[in-house]
Chain length 402, copies 2
């Protein structure tokens, strides 16, 4: 029997306690011992909860209890979560988390601290919710040089874009719909501006390329600029629009960015709809591997947190092999130098477009504006061409092999 | 520095040696030491190989060399491979393999032997080639009760079916084409009759449900009965035809079988074309997870074998957590009791079909035969109905939630 503490009783925290309860048999079998929640840390009261006797409001109770060797931090953010994580690791307790912000901002320090203390800091749930990502990448594909990693990493924006695609909804209506259904928060900024995807691609890049990539190093464009017209034009041209986080090795550097992309409808990634997520990894031996599933949600995320708890319990006195080195400005290559075909929407006439861009593929949707796909060029070339009297209303990359 | 032996220098064996060579830097980093191939066991001569000095023809050389602590068995089959695997494990050497036949037939004994000797028997490459499957299932999803696991597990048959779909080819022409391109062997029986898929679903079932499922327990239908007409009718009805291995929990038993299925074109699985594979896992917390990539091929398979080598090197003196219990007849539920909608093709008239089957959906392709989709019923009900004077030329399940 091992006793653990769960920090935070929000959606993920309550899911963790629930999964540990309903699947206790299989979990005990896989951990080779029973796992019991001894404390739940939350300042709120849950008088009607079946777990109400487990609640404590003071972190010191947990920190000073030598019976607690594994802590699940599911508070989120970089305030109390950082403080509690640091102190838990320093006290020789392993920490598992779904907190992408904390891992993206402070992952390398926390991993270093965990290593010094010979305990584990695990965060499978921080990317892709319940989708297995971190172990496949760091264990199953560790005989590969990783060339690229990218994906649909945010369920809220994918839900909104899918709604726009299916029902012709405007962005603002689709956002309201997502909020009504509980797929978007009252303040949706972190999702729709791409910050959540930014944090996740930072974590994936750091794992794939071995050095910490910080959120501030990643140019990030959300989906607020995607219009109903863009969706219709893209559809006519054979594409869906999806928000991607993407990291690609370029020589000894990496290019990392977040932006909406056009994805060919004939590809598997275009079928990742609603709140589903997908992570695509390209390795030099394995080729392309795709991992898909529910990228968020109470039970899927809890499934990944509990898997980490089991792993921490199995490895109380040995270290799991997740780590990366410090990052730095010299690691990052400017993503605007990456080649791509591009989708553009503009007020300019087709004649003007063809004069500046040469041979392009025009959307055949009757519209007052002109939408088209360019040949392959990098972002700087697009900027140069656009300076010749064409104003882009929308400008998105086409995902492809360039 | 650790020294290993590779048993067999066929496609996978030469791939393993190649990947260890070209990716030696990242492999040494991830294994925390250099990995060197000391022996390659093969009775053939490879006089022009850059590795020609490593070849030995006598397994005893490897067995008796205490410097060898990890052996990669990539011979295939259940003859020499079984003998060498047993003796390696008995001698305290860890064994990694891509040999699905051996794992499917003798996995539980070999895992038991490895446990007794405190060494590892790892086989990530035996299912799905380079696709991460075994670690995601046994580690990332181990807080779940698994309800179902299924997938497109054989690249050769998927290539043939894709060719039939795209080009209207007959089965026999598509098979010849696949043989010409090297995607099918001269004797394609193991692939087209479903034996390869059978072995892989046995391994996946054993891992997912914790008890050994043997190939002889799994009703297996290959793709030789899929005709060009079936593909056209299925297309008209909104489906592609794919060969699936499928295992589903039914009470405290499991239903396991291999058969062609109709897959709705709107789903992700329908886009897994050519030689690509996909494994779908449904867990009670995580929901549905899909893992996709190259299911075979020299370098993808080698990528998985080398990942296991790295894992074995990291865990020379500790055990990885893969195991399952012995199976038995009482584990298996008759898959013909599983509900499904069905695709049938018959000489009977539409009137006769509607008389016996009630409301069905007919293919609108003009043809001398009648093709249609039934309501939901199990295989026994289909048999009963077919005894009323309707002869089925083809009979496949529709994949769906029933």
């Amino acid at each position: 029997m091992i006793k653990i503490a769960v920090l935070g009783y929000g959606i993920v925290g309550s899911g963790v306690v629930h999964v540990l309860d309903i699947n206790s048999g299989i979990i005990a079998k896989n951990a080779e011992q029973k796992i019991e929640v001894k404390y739940i840390l939350d300042i709120r009261e849950f008088a009607d909860s079946p777990y109400k006797d487990l609640f404590v409001s003071d972190f010191e109770t947990i920190l000073n209890d030598p019976e607690i060797s594994v802590v699940a931090e599911v508070i989120g953010g970089v305030g109390a979560a950082l403080d509690f994580t640091r102190r838990s690791l320093e006290a020789g307790k392993s920490v598992v988390t779904s907190n992408k912000e904390l891992v993206a901002e402070h992952g390398s320090q926390l991993l270093k601290l965990a290593k010094e203390k010979n305990v584990n800091y695990l965060f499978e749930a921080s990317v892709g919710g319940g989708i297995p990502v971190i172990r496949p990448l760091t264990q199953c594909m560790n005989a590969n040089i990783i060339n690229e990693i990218y994906g649909i990493l945010n369920g809220t924006t994918n839900y909104i874009l899918t709604d726009m695609q299916r029902n012709g909804a405007d962005f603002s209506d689709a956002l309201k719909e997502a909020q009504l259904k509980g797929y978007a928060e009252a303040d949706p900024t972190a999702d729709i501006e791409g910050h959540d995807t930014n944090r996740k691609i930072c974590i994936l890049s750091s794992l794939a390329f071995g050095r910490h990539v910080y959120p501030s190093q990643v140019p990030t464009e959300g989906i607020t600029g995607v219009t109903a017209e863009d969706i219709i034009h893209a559809d006519n041209l054979g594409y869906k629009i999806k928000l991607l986080g993407r990291a690609r090795s370029v020589g000894d550097k990496i290019s990392v960015y977040v932006a909406p992309h056009l994805i060919a409808k004939s590809t598997m990634l275009a079928d990742i709809d609603d709140v589903m997520n997908a992570v695509i990894i390209r390795g030099n031996a394995v080729g392309t591997v795709s991992l898909c599933g529910a990228g968020a949600g109470k039970l899927p995320t809890a499934s990944a947190v509990v898997a980490d708890i089991i792993d921490a319990v199995r490895h109380l006195h040995s270290r799991r092999w997740i780590s990366w080195d410090e990052g730095g400005a010299n690691l990052i290559s400017d993503p605007s130098l990456l080649d791509s075909a591009w989708y553009l929407r503009t007020d300019a006439t087709k004649e003007k477009v063809e004069k500046e861009f040469g041979s392009v593929v025009f959307s055949q949707v009757p519209a007052s504006q002109t939408a088209f796909i360019t040949g392959v060029m990098n972002g700087k070339m697009i900027c140069d061409l656009l300076e010749r009297g064409i104003t882009a209303k929308s400008q998105f990359r086409i995902l492809g092999d360039y």
